[in-house]
């Protein structure tokens, strides 16, 4: 049963120290992930073989593996700009989302007025504003960062607004008795209550910002995963196309793993508990 985590064990675990090296836990998770991916690949290969799916449509994992080994330098080279764009887009989008969420929590009226505006911005297709972005931000990395940021902004906004409000009311009473200012309540209580929600959002947006960077590259680029994707599509080079998608996935999965590790490191208390 999942209760196990509250069970005292014979041997006390070693004291937790901050380490950048993967823990045995992380190694196990990695192994399991590999297993899961391998299984998926096997099923995929089986489907390709059994249903005789042509390569130009969906290549078999073996074809993709061939493309990966052939095009590895190309894939790695393409990964660099995309990772950079995704990274800064992630930072930008989430920072803005958190700031907006804070303003929403500080001021209900602001929330009621501008939550719909946030949704409106969310529903603008990138193509519709690409020229504007190009005019304002040029042809460099900036518009791609902004697009990645735009795409990962919303989940963090919604989750952190929720999180900042999911506070134990008794803690709020305590803070009131201590005459804590809104900011102090925020920094001492709401932030911690919101952390599980925020990390959940970061996990969503870390994958979305990779997609955002890719779509951002589609407004015009000659490098990056998005570019490679387009070129492979245009060339009907399905193995390379799927190798490129796989590269994007690896970037996203790595980002997800990093956020998960950060989460484990930061949320050391049980987020379900309230004292």
């Amino acid at each position: 049963m999942s209760i196990d985590r509250s069970v005292g064990t014979t041997a006390a675990p070693l004291p937790r120290i901050w380490s950048i090296f993967p823990s045995p836990d992380a190694a196990r998770a990695l192994g399991m992930a590999m297993l899961g991916l391998t299984l998926t690949l096997i099923i995929w290969q089986l489907i390709i073989v059994l249903f005789k799916v042509p390569t130009y449509l969906v290549p078999a994992p073996t074809d993709v593996a061939g493309a990966v080994s052939r095009d590895l330098p190309l894939l790695l080279e393409a990964a660099v700009p995309t990772i950079t764009e995704a990274f800064f887009g992630f930072l930008l989008g989430n920072t803005v989302a958190l700031l907006v969420a804070v303003s929403f929590v500080y001021n209900k009226v602001v929330e009621e007025m501008f939550y719909p505006v946030a949704i409106l911005i969310k529903t603008i297709p990138i193509v519709a504003i690409a020229p504007v972005l190009k005019i304002i931000l040029g042809n460099g990395i900036e518009p791609k960062i902004v697009i990645a940021a735009l795409i990962c902004f919303f989940p963090t906004l919604v989750n952190s607004v929720r999180g900042f409000r999911a506070v134990n009311p008794q803690l709020l009473e305590l803070m009131r008795v201590l005459s804590a200012s809104k900011t102090e309540v925020f920094l001492r209580v709401r932030v911690y209550s919101a952390l599980p929600y925020i990390f959940s959002a970061l996990k969503i947006s870390v994958t979305m910002c990779v997609l955002g960077a890719i779509v951002g590259e589609w407004i015009g680029a000659n490098k990056g995963i998005g570019y490679l994707l387009l070129q492979s599509m245009f060339d009907f080079n399905a193995p390379r196309l799927f190798a490129t998608i796989l590269t994007a996935s690896v970037i996203a999965i790595t980002g997800f793993a990093i956020v998960s590790m950060l989460e484990k490191w930061i949320i050391r208390w049980d987020p379900g508990v309230a004292m």
């Binding site: 130009y56 005019i135 000659n222 009907f236």
Partner: protein
């Protein structure tokens, strides 16, 4: 003193922009006193808007975009056309036995949403109506997977068409060019006011492109190397095949032999505009003068080849 100029391409760097890239790499633009930057495009790029809004002074784009832009009164015109013929061609597998557009009746016709008007125009030319066919958004795989009977594609994209070209049962084609829709492609466009105020610069630009395409035609391998140096993911063999088709069938035609590189036919523009007006895509009052300004072509020294 070099003049800074930006060229916004309609698509990624590839064989379709080999001439321009060669001109850049070989310094033909510099020779003309132009410091050109070539910006790649993509599916999320809109070159008409980008040329209008100053992202670039010059852009390349396709005929429908230009007509729709003119239809909205956008201050943009073509001043040259790298491709003398629009390549759009409809492919069907040999077994389907579709020899003419008339055979499309009752068939499933595949194309992108943007090519709907072209399909209509071609149907109109053969006396068919849009309702006589089933229009489906599709690409080459749709044809191979029997989702459509006919599919639109560009013969210049050799790699995409390969499965059809190698199809055991053979294949048939109907191009829009041969079926009543004779517009050109890969037009050079600029803001109307720029064409009026600085046709000299645009003429120099065109002369450099002319030189670039000529060099690409003579040295296709080297041209592709130059393209590849700007875009890492190019597959040279595929691109070389494309370039050869592009040069042989689209850059240089009887038209260029007579009038010179990048020539635009006013009559063709007028005919195309009429066709588009007839099928209800644009206002009937548009004429070639609304989409084309010939002063650059006139001013430029163009190779006849």
């Amino acid at each position: 003193q070099q003049k800074q100029v930006k060229l916004q391409l309609a698509w990624l760097y590839n064989a379709a922009s080999a001439g321009e890239i060669v001109a850049l790499k070989k310094g033909y633009f510099t020779e003309k006193g132009l410091d050109v930057e070539i910006l790649p495009g993509g599916p999320n790029s809109n070159t008409v808007q980008e040329a209008l809004s100053g992202v670039a002074q010059i852009a390349t784009t396709y005929a429908p975009e230009i007509m729709y832009g003119a239809n909205q009164g956008l201050p943009i015109k073509t001043f040259g056309a790298a491709f003398q013929k629009a390549p759009l061609t409809f492919y069907s597998l040999g077994e389907a036995n579709i020899k003419t557009v008339a055979d499309w009746k009752g068939k499933r016709i595949g194309a992108g949403q943007g090519a709907t008007a072209q399909v209509k125009a071609v149907l109109d030319h053969s006396g068919l109506k849009f309702e006589d066919i089933t229009f489906i958004q599709a690409q080459i795989p749709g044809l191979l997977q029997d989702q459509v009977d006919v599919v639109a594609s560009w013969p210049t994209n050799v790699a995409q068409n390969a499965p059809v070209l190698q199809h055991a049962g053979g294949y048939n084609t109907q191009s829009i060019w041969d079926n009543g829709l004779q517009f050109q492609s890969n037009y050079y466009i600029a803001r109307t006011d720029l064409i009026e105020s600085d046709s000299d610069m645009l003429a120099k630009f065109l002369e450099a492109c002319d030189k670039g395409w000529a060099y690409a035609a003579d040295n296709p391998e080297e041209a592709i190397d130059m393209v590849a140096s700007m875009s890492s993911a190019i597959e040279k063999d595929k691109e070389l095949a494309s370039l050869k088709v592009i040069v042989a069938d689209f850059i240089y035609t009887d038209e260029t032999r007579e009038h010179g590189f990048a020539n635009i036919s006013k009559d063709r523009w007028n005919a195309t505009l009429q066709t588009y007006a007839r099928i209800g895509e644009i206002k009937p009052e548009l004429t070639a003068d609304d989409v084309f300004d010939d002063r650059v072509l006139v001013a430029a020294q163009r190779t006849k080849r």
